[in-house]
Symmetry: C2
Subunit: 418 residues, 2 copies
Amino acid sequence: MIASPFGDVRMRGFTHRMEVARFQDLVRSHSAPLDSEIVPVVEGSDRILSESVVSLVDVPAFDRSAMDGYALRGEETFGAGVYNPLTFKVVGEVTPGQVFDGKVGAGAAVRIMTGAPIPEGCDAVLMAEYTREEDGVMTATEAVTPGRHVGRIGEDIRRGTPLFDPGRRIRPQDLGVLASIGWSELRVFRRPSVALLITGNELVKPGKSATGAMIVDSNSIMLRALVERDGGRLSELRHLSDDREAIREALLTVAGDLVITTGGSSVGIEDHAPSLIREEGQLLAHGVAMRPSAPTGLGRLADRLVFLLPGNPVSCLAAYDFFVGLAIRRLAGREEGWPYPCASYKLKGRIVSQIGRVDYARVKIEQGTAVLVATSGSSILSSTTVADGFVVVPQDSEGMPEGATVPVWLYDAPVGSP
Amino acid sequence: MIASPFGDVRMRGFTHRMEVARFQDLVRSHSAPLDSEIVPVVEGSDRILSESVVSLVDVPAFDRSAMDGYALRGEETFGAGVYNPLTFKVVGEVTPGQVFDGKVGAGAAVRIMTGAPIPEGCDAVLMAEYTREEDGVMTATEAVTPGRHVGRIGEDIRRGTPLFDPGRRIRPQDLGVLASIGWSELRVFRRPSVALLITGNELVKPGKSATGAMIVDSNSIMLRALVERDGGRLSELRHLSDDREAIREALLTVAGDLVITTGGSSVGIEDHAPSLIREEGQLLAHGVAMRPSAPTGLGRLADRLVFLLPGNPVSCLAAYDFFVGLAIRRLAGREEGWPYPCASYKLKGRIVSQIGRVDYARVKIEQGTAVLVATSGSSILSSTTVADGFVVVPQDSEGMPEGATVPVWLYDAPVGSP
């Protein structure tokens, strides 16, 4: 008998576990960026541009002063110094937003403020620091060359300049540039909507206390935050008992660009999700060569991806980070890599792994070294709050020896100042 | 005549510029974390805890199965193997959320699913993979030691365990842990509310196009995104003309834990903000030894900090990052350091600076080297969108030579996967 690679594994165990890299490729091949939407520029921070931006205007649209001081003809200041002050007749003033009325002649200067248009006839600005003014006469104690402290038309952005490419993750200053060129709206990739189906008779909803044989569902609240971190948003959250028909109905009616189920993804008799996906859609993968998270599945149903995540919270977190986040970031048009920074640390103690599977080993940084977190079962969520990050032991490795320098993916972004 | 260090500098120029580090210390001395507020756990992601969290319960509150399989007495499986299968009578089943009714005797096993409570009389779980069941009889082809695959009461979190300290920035998995111990609400530091007063006769509001001598205000939209990035929120945004009394009235009536003004902070005749602060409150600093951003000021008014930022957008961005962000993160109870990652790059070309001032030099990463962005005046906001990050040239440095390895603060967080 040839076993179907993703046949019914209930109470039999996985006959096959897919390699992590292959599982990820499968995710990639089913997750292209969604369509785009238009948002006001003011809401654009951290969104992903789906179009090119080219400026249709010059910024500024006029020559302007880069300093507070006096606009004049630079040539006329030549020779000025503390021991050779030169005087100019102050014929007026121009402040930002105004245009100086008239042409400035020889021996004259116009009081000018940063950002104001350079009056006709002037070609330089002498900084206020090198002047004094009394009774309509300005005394200059420094020379300026023509063009000095004049910001030319288009100095910031020239008309026709390509500014941003599609896929740009919008920085705060990008919004400033977009506003500068007169944009009020942006076309960005739509945020994927994600439905969460949390299964398990043993679960009480977050915010309640667990009694008897019950535990609190910790996955929904964690997954929601992860989904939002990666640019998605929650479309629906349903808590379901381990009732096959209720889960089927939820899978068929839930709204979202992507569906995540938790629990019921393994080889127990109440692990309905994989066989339901096989009945109603296509089970692309079930079982992955990774610890934790082995009982992870992937399917397609009604033209969208369905991720079957283990109910154990560490497995759920790791499977999210290896597979679901990848899909959400791709749907959102983001760079697909992890949002975790990576840094190298010397390993204290060793990490033992099995050839043939990837290990997600939580570590704590202690005195500059990475130390494996001792209690690290897939049900020990607190191992991921005690840890500072994790080491990924590759599939072809038996582990890492004491003293090895290992890359650690850090849960928290580091901060620093010069 | 002894000049007051922060006297009226209009049309005179700064007589004194404060060192960046001293300015930052001044900011620190006036910005302690705000009071706290209570939020639902589900909204707690990325907030900063203001209290300690100690678990009052064991998670789980019972011994549970870590696998799908059969609960039994481990001792009774000793000797089992593929060539020596042992049989057990299946006396029932227990799934998560249920409690097995009765005590399991010798030679018996209970079908058990991951997360279900271990029935009385059993001390181990044999994985489904090593069993087969037919007509109420389970055949075991592997032995398990007592205790195997049993998650003990409190294995995740033991009652009385301190879980989080104040100041913790809450991770997605932290929310899971908090839900697990039955928390529905959290005490977190309040998000600072920030008022923006944007001054300038030359400004049109973002979303409009600029004509004549006007330009679009790019600072408000950029600052809003920066404030939100750092854990603050906008309380008010007012666009004001360069009208002294209008600005005075706004400073006195605006709502917020912190106020930012842009424009009118320098030495021009319409630079009202510093003298207004001196009249109505306390001007703590005006002028900083930094390029750009020299015309930055700091004051206190009605018991809150007022930052006077230059209107030139690069100056505004740099002054925000050096001073305002520091205050907002401190008020928010966050770590005060920059949210920018830092990486070392070899410098292509050199950076020239002046001893006595800090330089904020924008660089582009090209083929693994840092290259100074050529057009980098303080009014060229596009220099910060073309750049990948910036180099901070310290006050005591004349610059950095070609080929030097320099730390670059990156505007975008890098992404990666193993």
